[in-house]
Every structure is written in structure tokens, then in C-alpha cells.
């Protein structure tokens, strides 16, 4: 009996030491990046300031979350006199955890505008993976607004309009013509558990296990384990995907429209100018609604299509041999597209036209 206990103790000790060493290996070799998010009472989760990040997914990114808790260069909340600021709001397409900042359209937009106009332009990347339109708006309200942007660009796709919001985070409550933010999540059980688990979340091992769990939850485990046998058993007779017309889910429509109304109001009242940039086709009704409310909707898809016609798939990642987010070449096209779209506004802002009521009127 004593022998067995001793065996078990020795085994546990070695197991623990090995796990610690493996944690160090995973972390330093960037095999798995520990979560870069920390719990936050305002937004549920925020990026941890001053954190080095290395992501190897469809692409490669080595970078840093700046000391203010967003991506790219650390521009302080208080901006210099004469500086024009553009805030980029969006999901993983804007966060760009798959490419270096110097290949991101944020950098290219900033460089392009600074070269072409007299004003000093700063572009701040508030991209945050997996946000929907509501969360992007809330992220702006609770965090990005502090940085006093002159322009706010929302990069959205149909999924941003339809995806439900994370339970652990603020919600936008629409009542008749007004909206307000509810922070009910602070008293939720999930937020409390999330806070309690926060030391664990800083482990690379936890990240690794969580990714595995996500695959299991998606129901992909049999496919991973049984490989071709699973495909054989299930049959490969999947019908080809048809191009479907994007639609807005009824349950998300009220929220999305309320946000657009708020953005339009801000545009009309001389607040920061909000612009929507599409990543993929948006529901036609939504686009019309935005335009009618004075929110410009810019669509770079023609540029991306021409890139595709030149033989470069904007979503193809040669390094990982898969399709995904915009690649470096697509970012170049988007950067160039935005430079030319934004240039007239920056110039008119420099001439003293403080309010820009309808950005769509730009040449």
C-alpha cells in the first residue's frame, strides 16, 4: 500500500513539474498564446495593456498590445492640437491577429494620409475579435471614445449584424426612440465565474485546452479522430453552397437600426463622423437605412474583386494553405481604398470645416 502511495506521489510530482515546463515551452515558443483578455467591469473583457503577442494561425503576427490596451502604436487618449484621429472599430478583420501591423490597413491608411495631406493623422486600431455590430458600438462608447477620434470607421459584415452578443458584456437597450447601456452582466454568475478563473486564463495550457473544447463543442471531434472513416460513414454528398442574399435576422434588426440612428445623429450633431465599411455584402435594407440616416456605407468589394481577378485571392493564406481573413494584399487594397475615401474629409477638416454631416458626398 505504502509503495503504491509513494508511486502515486512521485508520479504526481513529475507530472506537475512536466506541466510547468510544458507551460513555459508553449508560452515562449508561441505555440499557444495565453489569453490576452482580462475581465473588465465596463466591457466584460478588455485587452491586457502592455502585452507582447505572437499569433500563428492562418497568418503570423508578432506584435504588442499597447499600454492603453488596444493594438498598434500607443497614442494617448489626449491628442495633440491639429491631429486628426481615426478610430477603427471591428472584429477579427480589424484586429488583424494574422498579420504584422506594418501590413495592416491601419498602418497603410495612416502612412497614406500623412503623406498626402498636411494634417498629422493618427489611426487607432480598436479591432477586437468576435465582436458584433452592437458590441463594436459599445466598445466605442465605453473605451474608444476616450481617445477623441474625429472619424470612427466601423468595419462590418452580415455576420456582425446577425451574431448574438456575448452574455458577459454590456448590452444596448432600445426603448422607443432612445437607447441606453445596461451593465447587468456585472451581477451575472458567468461573469463571477469568469473573474474567478482569470488566473487560469493566463496559462498557455488553459488556452490549449479551451481550443480543444471549442472543437469538441462544435461537434468536430469525430471528424478529427476518425478522419476519412468519418467522412466515409457520413457520406460526402454535400450540396454545393449557393450564393445567398444577405439578410438581417429579425431579432437583431431593432438593435442594429438603433445603433445606425445613433451614429447618424452623431454625424448630424457634429460629433465624430461615423462611417461603415463593409467586409462582404450587407443586407440591402440595412445599407439603405444607414444612408437615409446620414451614415455613409463604403464598399471596397470592387477593389477586392479586381485583386482576385489579377490572380491574388484576398482571403488566401499561402503559408497555412487555407482561406480566412483578408491577407496582406487585401489589406494593401483596403488601405489604399480608405486613403482615397478619407483624403477629402481630412483636407476639409484642416480647412476648418469642423462638422462633416454627410461623408457620402465626398468626391
Amino acid at each position: 500500500m505504502r509503495e503504491h502511495v509513494r508511486f502515486f506521489l512521485k508520479m504526481t510530482l513529475t507530472f506537475t513539474i512536466a506541466m510547468v515546463l510544458l507551460e513555459l515551452f508553449l508560452r515562449f515558443s508561441a505555440t499557444t498564446t495565453p489569453s490576452v483578455l482580462v475581465d473588465d467591469d465596463m466591457f466584460g473583457k478588455m485587452m491586457k495593456p502592455s502585452t507582447d503577442v505572437t499569433f500563428v494561425n492562418e497568418g503570423l503576427r508578432i506584435g504588442r498590445i499597447n499600454r492603453y490596451g488596444y493594438l498598434g502604436p500607443a497614442y494617448a487618449p489626449r491628442k495633440e492640437e491639429g491631429t486628426v484621429r481615426i478610430a477603427l472599430m471591428g472584429d477579427s478583420y480589424v484586429a488583424g491577429h494574422h498579420l504584422f501591423d506594418r501590413h495592416h490597413f491601419r498602418y497603410l491608411l495612416e502612412q497614406g494620409l500623412n503623406q498626402l495631406c498636411d494634417s498629422h493623422v493618427e489611426v487607432l486600431n480598436f479591432g477586437f475579435p468576435a465582436l458584433n455590430f452592437e458590441q463594436m458600438y459599445l466598445y466605442y462608447e465605453v473605451f474608444a471614445r476616450k481617445f477623441a477620434p474625429d472619424f470612427v470607421i466601423y468595419v462590418i459584415g452580415t455576420s456582425s449584424l446577425n451574431q448574438p452578443s456575448d452574455e458577459v458584456g454590456p448590452r444596448l437597450v432600445v426603448t422607443d426612440d432612445s437607447v441606453h447601456i445596461s451593465y447587468a452582466f456585472r451581477s451575472s454568475k458567468r461573469f463571477a465565474i469568469s473573474k474567478r478563473l482569470s488566473p487560469l486564463k493566463r496559462l498557455a495550457l488553459y488556452s490549449l485546452l479551451r481550443k480543444g473544447k471549442q472543437i469538441y463543442d462544435r461537434g468536430d471531434a469525430p471528424k478529427v479522430i476518425f478522419d476519412k472513416f468519418f467522412i466515409l460513414a457520413r457520406g460526402s454528398g454535400r450540396s454545393a453552397e449557393k450564393h445567398s442574399v444577405p439578410v438581417e435576422r429579425p431579432e437583431r434588426k431593432a438593435i442594429n437600426r438603433a445603433i445606425v440612428r445613433q451614429l447618424g445623429m452623431s454625424n448630424r450633431e457634429g460629433g465624430p463622423v461615423s462611417i461603415i465599411v463593409t467586409r462582404g455584402e450587407l443586407p440591402r435594407g440595412f445599407v439603405e437605412f444607414a444612408k437615409n440616416n446620414g451614415v455613409a456605407v463604403w464598399d471596397p468589394s470592387a477593389r477586392l474583386d479586381s485583386l482576385a481577378r489579377s490572380g491574388i485571392d484576398p482571403n488566401w493564406w499561402a503559408g497555412s494553405q487555407r482561406k480566412g481573413h483578408w491577407n496582406q494584399y487585401a489589406h494593401r487594397v483596403i488601405g489604399d481604398f480608405l486613403v482615397h475615401k478619407m483624403l477629402p474629409f481630412i483636407k476639409s477638416l484642416a480647412k476648418g470645416q469642423k462638422t462633416l454631416r454627410d461623408p457620402d458626398r465626398a468626391p
Binding site: D52, V56, L208, G212, A221, F226, D227, G319, S320
Partner: protein, 475 residues
Amino acid sequence: MLFNSFIFIIFLCCVVPIYHFLNRRYRNLFLLGASYLFYGYWDWRFLSLILASTLLDFHVGRAIYHNEDEGRRRFLLFLSVAGNLTILGFFKYYNFFADSFAALASVFGLKLDYAHLNIILPVGISFYTFQTLSYTIDIYRRKLEPTDSFRDFALFVAFFPQLVAGPIERAKHLLPQIEKSPSATAEDFREGLALITIGLFKKVMIGDTCGRIVDQIFADPKLYSSPELMMGLMLFAIQVYADFSGYSSIARGTARFLGIHIMVNFNQPYLSANITELWKRWHISLSSWLRDYVYISLGGNRKGTGRTYFNLLLTMTLCGLWHGAKWTFVFWGFLQGSFLAIHKLILRGKKATLGFTYAGGRSFFVFLCKVVWTHALFLFGLLFFRAQSFSNASYILKEFVFWKSYGFDRQIFTIVFTYYFVTILIDVIEYWTKDHAFLLRLQPAYRTGLYFATLGITFVYLFQARSYPFVYFQF
């Protein structure tokens, strides 16, 4: 079927017990079926090639052995060599030579209309072709007696642990073991498990994870700065070694589960103090094959100094061509041959030092400097091995000369250092203990804890990451 996949683990868990339950008479037949299933899992059509090669060499081998007429024996050998090389040449090199010939013709203003074929390269064709070739050549050289059992010979060719990426076994070593249909002992199982654990860790946690970064960088080098390119190259050195030596360890471990010992393919090559030593420790089964069947056949060092260097260069250039149907591989082989020739020249007939014996701090420092220098030479060669084209390789070299960084050098250094540290640490332990299954030296309790942790994390990673094929499968 990839070793680093769950389906292989399931396959192994079925094959090993059934093999041991079966009567010895049926074991090889069962193993042959399992090997064909393993190989056919990629594409069942490839089985026809392996069968063709097996049939050819089985019958030619017997005919050579039973024939006394030297001319006829030579003709039969030619038949075997030509048959195998035709299969290999067509599937692996047809487009390479056709494209190169068309490019050459275009220099002289000729436009050649030839058919560029969309040929799928059968997995492991270079490995089993060389293995069967060695069988007939050894019979021709009267170093081996042919087997009378087609089943055993077919298993020798298709033995699944080493079928797709070696080690390129010799009939003299593997066939007698196959003929005995041995049972694995408890020691075999222990050693097999240790080898598989270390091999899987090397392959999945080191090789594959390095590969994810390397592939990004080499897919489009022009997007990256000098430190990032250097990281790509250094991590490729780790990837290719961890991947291939990991594969070899898993192959050896798997074979041990069936009671069969297959040869060591890697012996801590990155701890070599000179390039000659490195090639004695790197892909040993291929190096020794080339030595025995190409270098010696060309005359080796028996035909004068000049011819020795020529033979060395030619053998290594062919080694490059064996690795892939691209001029960058040929150049890589030529480069390795040149390094070996220069080292031979420096040695002036003396034997190259192999291994390290501690004789004070200074000796260790000198050894360390030599190891670093040898590795730097090897890295230089690997640039051509991995680059998609000469223009990419020259671009990368230019970036190394005109160093330009965009920051994040500390993060890059940390990643590279971690991979080197872990890989070299495993090598140093192996070097020190002279044992690839060094985990067996630990007490069972400690060993079990280590197995749980290492295999557990490896499987979790394997579950959530895409299985990377072995780098050497493409060869």
C-alpha cells in the same frame, strides 16, 4: 495515414494486439495487409506501384541469384534498376526534366510543345524504391541470399512503420527479422513506448509548431524583415530535424511493438563538430545507402584524389536530386558535396573527429565553436533546401547582408531560443546517455508522470491543430 493522427493511433491499437494473438504462420500475412491498408489510406491507386516494384525485385532477385552467367546477371540487375528508376523517374522527375529541357530549349529560341503532366507524387516512393534496389544490388554483389517467400519480401518492402519515410532498411537486417515473425517482449514494449513518446513530442510539439511559422515566412519572404527571415531559416533547421527524427523514433517505437528492430536514422546531428560528422549522424540510412550503392559504385576513393572529390560531389548532388525535383535541391546537394570535399581536403587523409571527449574547459569551448560553425554551414545550405526558388533564396541572403529590422526582435529571439534550447536539450541527453529511449532510465513512477504530461499535451495539441504531414513525405 499519418503517424501524428488519431486514426493511426487507433490503427496501431488494433494491429499490435491482433498481430500478437495470431499464430506465427499468419502474422506476416496480417502485417502485410495492415501495411497495404496503411499505405492505401492515402490513395489506394498508389498500391499498384508498390506491388509492381515488389514483383519486379522479388523475381529479378531470385533470377540473379540462380544465374551464374555474369552478363545475364548484369542484364537482370539493369532490369531491376531501370524498372525501379523508371517508376521513380516518371512520378517524381518527369515534369522537372521536361520543364528544364523546355527552358533550356527556349534559350536557343526553340519552343517545345510537350505535355506537362499533372502527376501526383506517390508518398514515400523514393524510400521504398531505394529499399528494393538495395535488395537486388546486394544479391548481385553476392552479399545476400534472396528470400523464397513472396509474402515476406512484400512485407519487407511495405512494412508500415518505415514505409513512407524510412529508415531505408537493408534486407540483410530487416528480412531475417520479418521471417521470424517475432513476438515483442516487455522490454520491446517499454522501449517502444519511450521512443514513440519522444518521437511524437518532437514531431508534433516541436516540428509542427515550428512549421507553422516557417511556412508563413517562406510562402512570401518579401513580406518579412531580416530578423523574421532569420527566424524562419533557423526554425526550419529545427523543424526538419524534429520532424524527421521524430518520425524515425515513432517508426522505431512502432516496429518494437511488433518485436522488430529498425535502424537508428539520426544521432544528434546538431552536436556535430564538423560537416563530415554531421553527415554521419544525419539521415544515416540514406547517407549509408548513397555511400554503399553510389559512391562506392563510382569508385569511391580507390581511383585517385581527383576522382574521389568528383565522386563525393556527384553522390551528394544526386542526394540533392533525391530530395526533390527542383534545382534548389540539386544545388543544396552540390553545396553539401562541396563542404564535404573541402573538409576532406583540410583533413589531408586524416580521419574526421567523431564525438566529443571532455578534456577541460578549453576543449569544450573549442567543441562548442565548431558545433556552431558546422550548424551555420548547414543553415546556409538549408536556405536553398527550403526556398521556393533561387530568386527567393537570393532575396533572403540579401536581407541577411543588408540587415533591416522592424522591431519585436526580443520576441523573435525568445521563440528561436526556446525551440533550439528544447531540441538541443533532448539531443544532449541522448548524447550523454547514448540512448534514444532515455526516458527508460527514470524510475517507473517518474516515467509514468512524464508520459502522462507529454502525451497528454501532445494529444490535446494534435486535437486542435491541423495534422502536418512529415516534411520528408514529399521526397
